[in-house]
Structure formats: C-alpha cells, structure tokens
Point group: C2
Chain length 297, copies 2
C-alpha cells in the first residue's frame, strides 16, 4: 500500500486474484442509535457488514475505507470509541484502514464503509450456484441481533449491556468459514444473512432459478442474555444483522458439522419448483415469505 496522503490509495493485488468490493452505509437513526449503541459497537458493526460480504464470496479481506460525516458537536470520545471498535475488528482480520473521507454532517452521524478483498480468479462463491437437490446450511445460530433490537425497540429495556448481547452489538463476520467452504469446494452457492434467513434464502433461490424447502425445527435459534433463552422463531427466520452464512452444497458433498468452532446446521433442500416452503413442527407447511428485518421500523 502506498498513496497515504495522496489523492488515491494504491493497492497491489496478489497475482492471479480478482478484487472483491463491497460498500455499506451505517447511518444514525437507520442502522444504529446513539442512545442504544456504544460507539465501539457502531464501529465494530459497520466493519462487520463489509467483512461479512467478503466472507459470503469465500474471499479474503485486504483493506477497508472509512467515510465518516460527523455533527460539529459530537464529542471526540465518541469518535475515539468508534475507531477503537472499528480498528480492533480490522486488526483481528488483518485488514488495513487504507483511506476514506471525512465531512461535517448537518444531521446525525453518517458512515460508509468500503471493504476490498481478493479471491483466486473465477473462484468466488456466487448466489447463483444452487441446484435442485442441494442441501441448505447455515452457520452458527440465528435471531440474536433482531431479538435484541426488539428488546430495545419495545422500550422494556432502555439500555442493554453489550457483552451480554454480543450477537447484536459485536457480531462476528464468518471470514474463515467462508474461505474454507470455498477452498474445499463445499459450497455451491453462498450469501450472508444480513436481511434475515427468509429474505436471503429467497435471494439465493432467485439468483439460482430454483426453490427451497426448509424445516422449522432445524433452524438453529440463538440464545439471549444472562438466562440463555432461545429467541422466538420469527427472529431466527426473519431477523437480519446476524452475519451468519447461508450456503448450499451438493448432496454428495460431505459437510462437516463444525468449521473452526462454528456450528454448521442443515436446514433444508433446494427444489426445482420455484417457491420457498417452510415445514412446521406440526408437519403442516406454508410459504416462507421474505419478511426481512426492516431496520428499526
């Protein structure tokens, strides 16, 4: 990397690799609220969004670019906390903060994060690779982020202790899992669950021209807070911002039950017929409508 203090950052891409680019807003009032989210969490979450997109392609992150528009009266300690959360996660994944932009904001804190990654030429795991008969898997457990947000929105809790709700405040991008799934040629299609399982499974089906059936009872539900209760099914099905991976694999491919300490769970199958069906615990079934979590609304 050269070009620090120049008009552009200059990055050298390893030979025989392609560049991955992803860009995500983090806007106050839309993606976070200052009264709910400590600045370390805001910094962490906005980088997680980009890293998770790199993970979903099976790529490796290289560099991040942070654009930040700040209100004139924002205390410096907020910015310090934000950068702490951002840079700690960047360090964990060997990602360099390589540039960005700053501006004054007339209304609220506005961030935009770009992450560049790389991947061997032609090897990116796309959403479009799912084939009828493939099994559908998810990493980790789902619904913690949305269930936590629901607690905050309900007004029952004004503030939550972030360490007790890490799924919402400090979600982990699944970089290693995504890379291994791609390297070992396990995944036929992949996406990160940022909009909710129902919406992101729909994305895979649409891009692949297929349908799917999933079993309600197999969807791994996150547990929450000190008591460790499993979240409501609706959060696991429709809640976004968990940043787990959803992938498909051909029937003949052996899929481990765990990769790098992250549980892998089979939740359904890809079907030829272009609809997404959920089979309930009582053996009835219904369409799984994409009710992706709408941020805060």
């Amino acid at each position: 990397m050269t070009g620090i203090g120049d008009d552009c950052s200059v990055l050298r891409i390893p030979p025989d690799r392609e560049v991955l680019v992803t860009t995500d807003f983090s806007l106050e009032g839309v993606h976070f609220r200052r009264e709910w989210h400590p600045p370390e969490s805001v910094g962490h979450r906005c980088l997680t969004r980009g890293l998770s997109d790199i993970a979903a392609m099976g790529g490796e992150p290289l560099a991040a670019f942070l654009s930040l528009a700040l209100p004139a009266k924002l205390p410096q300690r907020w910015v310090d906390g934000f950068l702490k959360g951002f840079l700690e996660l960047a360090k964990q994944f060997g990602v360099e903060l390589a540039g960005g932009d700053t501006s004054q904001s007339l209304a609220g804190i506005q961030g935009d994060v770009v992450v560049l990654g790389s991947i061997p030429k032609g090897k990116a795991t796309l959403r479009s690779g799912a084939r009828p008969g493939d099994r559908i898997y998810v990493t980790g457990a789902l619904g913690a982020a949305a269930a936590t947000l629901d607690l905050l929105c309900s007004g029952r809790k004004k503030k939550l202790q972030p360490t007790l709700f890490p799924g919402h405040f400090f979600p982990q991008p699944r970089i290693d899992v995504g890379r291994i799934l791609r390297e070992k040629k396990i995944a036929s299609a992949m996406i990160d669950i940022s909009d909710g399982l129902s919406t992101d499974l729909r994305h895979v089906c649409e891009e692949s021209g297929v349908g799917a059936v999933a079993w309600e009872e197999t969807v791994p539900r996150a547990t929450l807070g000190r008591r460790g209760e499993p979240v409501d099914l609706r959060f696991a099905l429709h809640g976004g911002d968990d940043y787990e991976l959803l992938f498909t694999a051909a029937e003949r491919v052996r899929v481990p039950s765990e990769i790098g300490g992250v549980r892998i769970t089979a939740i359904g199958r890809i079907m030829r017929r272009r609809q997404v069906v959920l089979i309930h615990t009582n053996h009835s079934s219904s369409r799984l409508e994409p009710l992706g979590w709408e941020h805060f609304r």
Copy 2:
C-alpha cells in the same frame, strides 16, 4: 465484472497493474443544495470528485460504486436526474457502475462515491515527488466553481443557469491530461485542485518536503457567465472544486502549452525553503496561506 446481485462485486484487474481507490461524500447542505443544484449536476459532480482523484495519480478509472441514502419523500424524478448526470459522465470515461448501497435517510440526501482505477505497477504520480527547481503548472483556468458558489451564497442570484456556469455545475475531470502527464514522465508530483490552489499546493510541498513560489499574475483565472469576466483572484487562489490538476515538472522537461485541448500554465517554482510565497503584481510578496475553500461556510 461479475457479482451483480451478489454480496460483492468482482473485478478483474489488468495484469501488472495496481488498484487505485478513492472515496468521496456528497452530502446535501454540505456539498450541494437542492435549491441551487439540479439533480443532474449533483450526480455529475459527485462522480467528478472521484474521477479527478484518479486523474491526479495519472490513473485510468475502471468502476464506480454509488451509495445513496434518500429521504422517503424525495420525488423519483430527482433520483432519475441524479442518475442521468452520474451515468452520462461515467459513460464518457468508460466507467462501469459496479455496485453500491441504498438506504433510507432521515435527513437529507447523502451520497458516497467510490471510484476504482488502475495504473501500471509503481507508476502512480504521487504528491511527494516535487524537487527544488521543479516548475509548477496548472491545467485549465481556476476559480469558476468558487466564484459561482459565491454568487449563489451572496443571495444576489437565487438560481443560475447551469449551462452558463459549467465550471461549477458540470466540472470536467482531467483524466486524459493526468494519464498523458504520467505516461510521458512529465509530472514529478501531481494533485487535483479540489480544496483550492493555496491548500493543494501546500499539500504537495508538505508531502515533498519543499517550499514554493508562485506568481500572482500567471495564475490562470476562469471567466464566468454570459459576459465572460475573469473571476476575482481570491477565487483562483483559494477556490476549490475546480478539479483542475496542479503538477510539477523538472526544469529540463519540456512541458507542452496544451494537452488534449486543455491549456497548461506555469505558475511558479519549487524551492528548497519550506514556505509557500506569492509574488504579487506590484512585485511585493507574501506568504500564500492555505485558505482552501470551506464548502459553503
């Protein structure tokens, strides 16, 4: 390019080239105002900022990423106009709109544009290459954008006809000039004049560890409006957003007086002593303080 509809965009970089990355905010009330700037101009200007950064390295643009947060009540025709301005400029320079992000905005229109470019390995023209004795040059004429903004800010004009004030509403990034200056090994250092000549010349001096002397009378002033009057010197010296290039060249290097229809003007010399001095028309001199144009303030 693949990955449209995927978590990341996938870009192939030509062999033996490095990647250039630049990212710039365009925020309503900070970088533009809806009552002053037609949407086509806002779209054009926000891409110009990124393309101009690529030009300043001597690079060639590859792809743009547009993140746009829009208020719920924004008329669709505003978005259409914005995209028209953005895409026309993108087409002019063979730049693909390769991705981005969208979000609702709770306050004002917020854009962030990322431009990726490429350049042969190790060939980027940096700000740090100026050496004592080098001549200082600028492209085109300076001050049109700031003088136009001053007209708008003064309240004397409520609205201006954009076609009569193209320097402000539709500035042209100097991609070809920057590339030729790099290819022909003319420029020893280069920057785009986005913050104003006084500020950007200071940037080059600081990064190069040198000083400079410039002659007031040689600074090419833009002409404005129907009558074509030259702008005040202060706009040419301190006005930003012109997106002309400032570069230095060794004394022995022949610098053409025009490249691709764009005038090249010598305005000063690089000095060993680390200060930036302006020689006035009356032969007195003073420090050239970096009074870079502060957007709208």
